[in-house]
């Protein structure tokens, strides 16, 4: 995955926000109102303070006037504050929703090549945790950046109106705070990135070792693991200490700058009052009190903005990781003029096909296969001979490097993937079930199926009995990835799944490898009925199950080395004959 530059990421974030123009305008307006109210209220307090004149009585009616003014201002401010955060929430959560949706939709389009090559944990982390971190950063940024900037401008304006000399002092000194914050933020960005990299490494390690804890224990590898874990842990600790400490310096540092500004305002103000400097402005103790609290208010947003900056840094880093996924090259789209393949007869042809997973390592070259409709094609060969690759190509999970595969004479590239795959029924050795009920899992290929149809399919797959032994029968919820079903039971459910949709072409990859042979024999009868009239590719190690195939493809090292029927191949006395005889060799 290519790392996009920070600038590009920012651009993308802004683009993402484009749809929310009106809401953003509204939030800016309300932020403006609430900031104005925020600034106005203390002025009234200052005016009250100016009513306190040593040796005189304060007039209560004047004070009550000011109280009323404060009340109205605060009321409006409260309403505006609430609206600002509600609108900001709306924007943030919807942006997150949009991003997650597009990331998820993109996952559906990514080539299997990408999915096979990346750790699931990493991708899930980006789509979930990173999006959340991005949201948090954005939320804080949204709410605080606007009000912060507005407060700074507003306060500066008021201060200039009250006493331009003091305002000037504040104006000159405060950017120090900004400078300090920026310095810290730029230092911490890379620290955060490093921390999250090491954390990723640790998560992957935990994923691997805790995920396979049984093997770890079987080999007594706990101590070595702990050692390795401690090593990563040590690095993570060092990196987190740095990133946490340096990023937490922002607040104290800017707070210190504030303290200095505050002192300067107090000094200048007090001296002006004591010496009654002849200025063309009216200056009072109430105004000094105002100025002091404004000096605080003026610098506070700088603090917050710097906090926001750290948060946004993190958010941008996360956004970058998300966009890496979203920008990942999707699988080649269906050709523009791709036709929808109807229900096929099932003639399949490989013409001079070449393919490899790795450009540097040639795998399949010049492969030709002709499978006629309704034929049963068995694929046999030693482990790792490329049988799974053949399935990847049939299903168009991977694209060819050269040559052509046709179905009923149509180049598979000229039809939509969807219509091609609808014509196949696939049962893989690695069974996979979705979290959901047994019913939903069987009905995966045909969601409109009735209960009767599903039960019929389950019966054909000899899964009905054990399903009925489960607590809620067909409505039993299966946990993620099959939960506590045995491998064999999962396989039976996968078989029931295709028994229900009955597509014209079948791919059975070791479909019964985990099912005991007695049950298997019963399923075979069902399979035999199923395969009748359907083109089927059967991968199996049990030669007895492929003996009746119309065509046997013997694969080795990625290529087909022999083709023919069982008898032909035996007569040939070649690789297949060898393989077959070894069954009884000992």
């Amino acid at each position: 995955m290519a790392k996009p530059s920070k600038k590009l990421v920012l651009k993308r974030i802004f683009k993402q926000l484009k749809n929310y123009k009106l809401l953003i305008a509204a939030t800016i307006f309300f932020a403006f109102v609430s900031v104005a109210g925020n600034l106005l209220a203390p002025i009234f307090v200052g005016q009250i303070i100016d009513l306190f004149i040593a040796g005189q009585q304060v007039q209560l009616d004047k004070v009550f006037e000011k109280f009323a003014a404060i009340g109205v201002t605060v009321g409006i401010t409260c309403a505006a504050q609430w609206l600002t955060s509600v609108i900001n929430n709306h924007i943030t959560f919807h942006v997150v929703k949009d991003i997650r949706e597009s990331a998820f939709a993109h996952l559906q389009k990514l080539p299997l090549k990408f999915i096979d090559a990346h750790s699931y944990g990493d991708i899930v982390g980006r789509a979930i945790a990173d999006v959340d971190a991005f949201a948090d950063g954005l939320l804080m940024g949204f709410t605080q950046l606007f009000t912060g900037v507005l407060t700074i401008i507003g306060v500066l304006g008021i201060m200039f109106a009250m006493n331009w000399i003091i305002a000037l002092i504040v104006f000159v000194l405060t950017p120090l705070s900004l400078f300090v914050a920026k310095f810290i933020a730029s230092k911490t960005f890379s620290l955060f990135r490093k921390t999250s990299e090491i954390r990723g490494e640790q998560t992957a390690f935990i994923d691997e070792m805790i995920g396979n804890l049984k093997v770890v224990q079987a080999f007594g590898h706990e101590d070595e693991n702990l050692e390795k874990f401690d090593e990563i842990n040590e690095r993570l600790t060092k990196a987190s200490l740095k990133s946490i400490f340096y990023s937490s310096l922002t607040n104290p540092a800017t707070r210190f700058v504030n303290a200095v500004v505050y002192a300067a305002v107090a000094l200048a103000g007090a001296l002006m009052l004591v010496f009654a400097v002849p200025l063309p402005i009216v200056f009072t103790v109430g105004k000094l009190s105002n100025l002091l609290s404004y000096a605080n208010q003026y610098t506070k947003p700088f603090n917050e903005i710097s906090g926001v900056v750290t948060e946004l840094q993190n958010a941008v880093a996360c956004a970058g990781r998300i966009y890496e996924i979203i920008d990942e090259q999707p699988q080649t789209p269906d050709a523009e003029n791709a036709t929808v393949l109807g229900k096929v007869k099932g003639d399949i042809e490989f013409k001079n096909v070449s393919f490899s997973y790795d450009e540097d390592k040639k795998l399949i070259e010049g492969l030709n296969i002709t499978a006629k409709a309704g034929q049963r094609i068995a694929i046999v060969g030693p482990t790792g001979c490329g049988k799974t690759t053949l399935i990847n190509l049939l299903m168009r999970f991977y694209d060819l490097d050269g040559g052509q595969i046709t179905v009923d004479g149509n180049d598979v590239l000229s039809v939509t993937r969807k219509s091609l795959r609808k014509n196949y029924g696939m049962v893989l050795q690695d069974t996979w079930l979705k979290s959901g009920t047994v019913f939903e899992n069987i009905a995966m290929g045909k969601p409109s199926a009735t209960r009767e149809e599903v039960e019929e399919a389950a019966q054909a797959a000899h899964a009905h009995n054990f399903i009925m032994q489960m607590p809620d029968g067909y409505d039993t919820v299966i946990a993620e990835d099959g939960g506590n079903l045995s491998q064999g039971q999962k396989q039976l459910l996968c078989i029931a799944r295709i028994m229900l949709c009955l597509p014209p072409m079948l791919i059975l990859d070791e479909a019964t490898s985990s099912i005991d042979t007695r049950t298997e024999q019963k399923i075979q009868e069902a399979f035999a009925r199923l395969m009748d009239g359907r083109t089927s590719f059967v991968v199996a190690h049990r030669l007895s199950t492929v003996r009746e195939a119309d065509l046997i493809l013997v694969m080795k090292g990625g290529n087909i080395i022999e083709q023919g029927t069982h008898d032909e191949l035996l007569a040939k006395q070649g690789f297949y004959a060898n393989l077959y005889n070894s069954q009884f060799a000992i």
Binding site: V74, C78, N89, H90, F229, G384, W432, S513, R518, T519
Partner: protein, 573 residues
């Protein structure tokens, strides 16, 4: 949470110093309004002296400097303690998880364990960090300001007390309402996470069934649900700021009223009124910080609870007393029954058999017959509910688990390789294995061609989960890994299922030739893999329905016959 406090043990000094320095910083902040009040009174006195004012302002700067130093120190100590805390916690947690027995692993599920190790620990870490930094500071400022107010004037102090009480009700009320809502958000987020992971793990099947669009719409529903719950809780917590702002301003009005009355009666001066006003402003900021802190801390507590649950787990495996060493067979199962949890049916029921050293034992039976359970009893991965498993006459629960597992070489059903090189994977069997020993194990496991086909040989990198090797290649390498150990007992749990017959046959022949002559257990579903075993045990629904040689079983055991003839036609046998 209390149980986790011990992880701060090594960071006692830091954990005390961090809040202490924060406290210091806070107290300096509380002086500021006093100094300002003094300046104002100096002005009001009419004959203000410049040096007094300059001194006062220098004191303000000095307070800032001391505040900065204390704050930096506090941040450092807090970060150090929090990071150290989580380091030790993670270490212990990882260690603990590794020590859990198979039953606990089954019950917990690895997904949960991984979450505990990662996000839960992180959450607790930031909780500790925040607590050390703010837990002392915020209440100190809030109550410090109130006390200062009382010192100035008891009426004004009363206004502070009421304001703080009302603020607390509002702030904590909103929190109490929103915390369960946040839990709901978390639940919805979990659903979205599961959906994301599933779409990756099931990519092939989902695409084969053209479920991409259904997946997207089902995901979007879950995602929308999440957004909805987030927005709702967002609306509630958005009340926090406006309400507190309104309360503080109401309090300021009250304060000013008290100020005016007291000023008129001559018991307060202007500087004091300004000081009161400044203290009131300080409270708000700290109270909000405190509320945020409490949210984080509540989350951390929940996570800490879940972590403690795991740390408190006692490995359920029983330790037995080594009794008198009964002479007899190398391995003996005496009336062994096994039950996972409280299932109505035993997974194994009254199993009896003996095995001599160097024998090969085949275990066969249908899906769910108890084959894997049986072999898992040898390395004492589970406890027997009844009966005993004896090795050399000693109950396996009396042999130390480390010593026992040292004897056993296990090839699990699911062929798992780990990230690293092939050599590193092989050395799981024995740390000290030389390349020669590894290569010979690989040859025995019929995996030489796997190594030969990879450019790197033993240095070939294995990706996470062994993804760059095919299922069959992985399986043979896991067999080699167990052989590197040169185990006394070799256990192959249906390990040849992805191997073709020829390879399987060659594997069995080469196992026979091993010079250290291990006792071999072969679990299989095909009779061809075990027909030459010295003893075959036939399992059905957890019971032993036959034992003997292939020929004997063909004669006596109906189920074995059925299994065999389902694989070979009668004349073939």
């Amino acid at each position: 949470m209390r149980k986790l406090l011990k992880y701060l043990k090594h960071y006692k000094v830091q954990s005390v110093l961090a809040p202490l320095f924060k406290l210091l910083e806070a107290s300096f902040e509380l002086f500021v309004p006093m100094v300002v009040s003094a300046i104002i009174n100096e002005i009001d006195a009419g004959n203000g002296s410049t040096s007094y004012i300059v001194y006062a302002c220098l004191i303000l700067v000095a307070l800032g400097v001391v505040g900065l130093i204390s704050a930096v120190a506090a941040q450092y100590f807090a970060a150090k303690a929090a990071v150290g805390f989580s380091k030790e916690l993670r270490h212990d947690l990882f260690d603990k998880m590794q020590s859990l027995s198979y039953s606990e692993i089954d019950n917990l599920g690895t997904g949960k364990m991984i979450t505990r190790m990662t996000s839960d620990v992180n959450q607790v870490q930031s909780g500790v960090n925040l607590v050390l930094r703010l837990f002392m500071r915020s209440p100190f400022i809030v109550f410090g300001a109130m006390i200062m107010a009382f010192l100035i004037d008891s009426f004004a102090g009363g206004v502070f007390a009421i304001a703080i009480a009302v603020l607390c009700v509002v702030v904590f009320g909103i929190m109490l309402i929103s915390i369960p809502l946040y839990k709901k958000v978390q639940g919805n987020l979990d659903k979205v996470t599961v959906a994301t992971r599933e779409t990756l793990t099931g990519a092939r099947v989902l695409r084969a069934f053209c479920k991409e669009e259904d997946e997207i719409s089902s995901y979007n529903r879950k995602n929308a649900e999440l957004t909805k719950s987030q927005r709702f809780v967002g609306k509630v917590s958005a009340l926090m700021n406006p309400l507190t702002y309104a309360i503080i301003n109401a309090a300021i009005i009250a304060l000013m009223y008290v100020g005016v009355i007291k000023f008129n009666s001559g018991s307060l001066d202007r500087g004091q009124v300004v000081a009161l006003y400044n203290y009131m402003s300080q409270i708000l900021i700290e109270l909000i910080k405190l509320a945020n802190l409490i949210i984080t801390v509540t989350k951390s507590f929940a996570c800490a609870g879940r972590i403690t649950e795991i740390l408190d787990m006692q490995p359920s495996l029983k330790k037995g007393e080594a009794g008198a060493r009964a002479s007899g067979s190398f391995i003996e199962f005496k009336n062994v029954s096994v039950n996972y949890g409280n299932a109505p049916h035993n997974a194994l029921d009254g199993i009896n058999f003996t095995v001599e050293r160097g024998q090969t034992v085949g275990i066969i039976g249908g899906t769910g017959a108890g084959k894997t359970t049986l072999i898992n009893m040898l390395p004492h991965f589970y406890d027997a509910k009844e009966g005993e498993v004896l090795i050399d006459g000693v109950n396996v629960n009396a042999i130390g688990d480390v010593e026992l597992r040292e004897k056993c070489g296990i090839v699990p059903q699911r062929a798992v390789l780990f990230k690293g090189t092939v050599r590193e994977n092989m050395q799981w069997g024995s740390n000290t294995a030389t390349d020669g020993e590894i290569l010979s194990a690989i040859e025995t496991a019929q995996a030489s061609d796997v190594i030969a086909s990879k450019d790197g040989g033993l240095d070939e990198v294995v990706e996470q989960g062994g993804k760059n090797f095919s299922g069959g290649q992985r399986q043979r390498l896991t067999i080699a890994r167990a052989l590197v150990k040169k185990p006394e007992i070799l256990i192959l749990d249906d390990s040849a299922s992805a191997l073709d017959y020829a390879t399987d046959a060659r594997l069995r022949q080469s196992l026979k030739k091993l010079d250290y002559n291990p006792t071999v257990f072969i679990v299989s579903q095909r009779t061809s893999s075990i027909r030459h075993a010295d003893k075959i045990i036939v399992l059905d629904g957890g019971r032993m329905v036959g034992s003997g040689t292939h020929e004997e079983l063909l004669k006596d055991c109906e189920i074995y016959r059925e299994i065999h003839f389902s694989q070979f036609e009668k004349e073939g046998a």
